[in-house]
């Protein structure tokens, strides 16, 4: 519970168009989304608009959500897996104010999920849409800063450089050091940055029944993974892709399968490991009794 008392119900503000953006902008973004869906993993440039929050706070994800949200949608917003962080709360309130749609914290009840840096533990189903907030859409950016060159590489499917980076990791650390925003090949054609989700979540993207949309506001790119698309994390034959494991289960719900956050409990070094996905954790705790 936050220190500031917020009204329990947020009223729809009629001074804003539905979803904040004007209809023409929504149409432009939907066209970009359609193109992105038609070319899985390909970064589609779009005319990113000024949003009432600065770059770096999810403007891309918000624009995508704003363009696809309808009055019958049920919206869930999470930030690092949690529904109750400041960012998640504010973005949820933004949509409540500009659309009046129902919101939920339960993954199973949501039709539209906007997320920063995590995929919910509960498997998604057909008909659901998940929107990822993306800071840097170009997976090769750190290795090749020239956009002209990365565009050519995507166009020609020349991705050796990405493997160079993975090779370097193994040479330097004995294993691939990337633990989040781990590069993937989409439908065997495009190299994609899945956004800074932990690599633990990468397998969830593969053959997912839901529609996955990605929005980068500052970089002005939208991309998509349509339902039931192959998403494969890059690796070497003799250094296969591996997800993180924890030694202990979640201390609240006992889960051994979910992504755990480390929470510092006191100033003496005390810590506990709990599920990052708050909805998942609470559901399990409730059913555990």
């Amino acid at each position: 519970m936050s220190a500031i008392d917020l009204p329990a119900v947020v009223e729809r503000d009629p001074n804003f168009n539905f979803g904040y953006l004007d209809e023409r902008t929504k149409r432009m973004i939907r066209r970009a989304i359609l193109k992105a869906v038609a070319i899985p993993g390909y970064q589609v440039p779009f005319g990113s608009r000024e949003m009432p929050l600065p770059y770096g706070w999810g403007t891309g994800g918000i624009q995508v959500t704003a363009s696809v949200i309808g009055p019958d949608d049920v919206l869930k917003v999470i930030d690092q897996g949690a529904d109750d962080t400041v960012n998640a709360v504010n973005i949820r309130r933004f949509f409540q104010r500009t659309t009046g749609v129902a919101t939920t914290e339960r993954t199973t009840d949501a039709t539209l999920i906007q997320t920063r840096h995590r995929i919910p533990e509960v498997p998604l189903v057909e008909g659901q849409v998940i929107v990822y907030q993306v800071p840097m859409p170009e997976p090769l950016q750190k290795l090749e800063p020239r956009e002209a060159e990365t565009r050519a590489m995507h166009g020609l499917a020349e991705y050796g450089l990405m493997h160079v980076k993975l090779y370097e990791d193994i040479a330097r650390y004995g294993h691939i050091a990337t633990t989040y925003d781990y590069p993937v090949m989409v439908d065997g054609r495009y190299l994609m940055a899945p956004s800074p989700i932990p690599k633990f979540d990468n397998p969830k993207m593969h053959m997912n029944p839901a529609l996955q949309l990605f929005g980068a506001g500052r970089e002005k790119r939208i991309y998509a993974v349509p339902p039931y698309t192959k998403v494969e994390s890059l690796a070497f034959d003799d250094h296969p892709f591996e997800v993180q494991r924890w030694e202990k289960p979640c201390e609240l719900c006992g889960s051994r399968e979910s992504f755990l956050d480390e929470v510092i409990t006191d100033d003496k070094g005390g810590r506990m490991f709990v599920c990052s996905d708050t909805d998942y954790c609470r559901s399990r705790s409730e059913s555990n009794g």
Partner: protein, 257 residues
């Protein structure tokens, strides 16, 4: 082998009013090293760039005999095909090794990159192949994980050569590969180039201003002046019995220590 591996016909390239390369033609056969010598402004580097597809000539054609698809017009190829060729069957050795290397990744990654680009996905194999090539260019394979920033100029050049040869290209373009290096370093590098071109039967077009380099490495020599080829023939013949006044001038100008 009945066809030349490279054929340049009527290559012309101008920059405004200035003609940098004027109607140059030549054939190169597998395993032959052709040196293009000339002073600054002769057009030799422009010619090299035209035949290596880095620059589009204003006139003329460059044809390459591929491994499996016959003769192709290098400038009519798709960008994708050209880039693939540059990564597999061709090599390009820059004068400044830093331009031909990724300075921010290790020596091993530099050598292994072409393999990875071609789909090699076994880390152990990539590493051992890279290690082999470092040894073949007479580098200490133990330095495989070091950054080229820690290497001397001569070592960077060796690394660049290894990076190019790992896919066993049949044709290598070299632009002053030993200029700018200390004389003793140059000498060792020339020996390496000489033995590699012989051992792997490389066809090569080598641009140099240094006649001694041409004498050591090349079977054939083309002398360029103001964009034109003034004399061409077997290297020893052009250097020992120069016919053209400019060639005679060049040969007589070389200092003998």
């Amino acid at each position: 082998m009945d066809s030349p591996i490279l054929r340049a016909s009527g290559i012309t390239r101008t920059y405004g009013a200035r003609t940098a390369v004027d109607d140059v033609s030549f054939e190169l056969w597998p395993g032959e090293v052709l040196a293009v010598v000339g002073e600054s402004g002769s057009g030799k580097s422009t010619l090299l760039n035209c035949v290596s597809a880095r620059l589009k000539p204003d006139a003329g054609k460059v044809e390459f005999l591929t491994r499996h698809e016959g003769v192709v017009d290098v400038h009519a190829m798709s960008e994708a095909a050209r880039r693939l060729l540059a990564r597999t069957d061709w090599g390009y050795v820059h004068q400044n090794a830093a331009e031909g290397l990724r300075m921010d990744v290790s020596a091993g990654a530099n050598v292994g990159e072409r393999l990875m680009a071609l789909g090699e996905r076994h880390y152990g194999r990539i590493r051992s192949e890279a290690s082999d090539w470092l040894t073949r260019v007479e580098m200490d394979a133990g330095r495989i994980d070091e950054s080229p920033r820690n290497f001397s100029g001569g070592m960077r050049q060796r690394l660049q050569i290894a990076r190019n040869l790992v896919t066993r290209p049949r044709l290598v373009f070299m632009d002053e590969p030993t200029s700018g290096l200390d004389v003793s370093v140059q000498a060792k590098l020339l020996d390496l180039l000489r033995s590699l071109t012989r051992k792997y039967s490389l066809a090569a077009v080598l641009v140099t201003h240094d006649l001694a380099v041409a004498r050591l490495l090349a079977h054939r020599l083309m002398v360029m002046k103001a964009g034109r080829v003034v004399e061409t023939g077997l290297t020893d013949q052009v250097l020992d019995d120069p016919q053209h006044p400019y060639t005679q001038l060049l040969v007589s100008s070389v200092l003998q220590p």
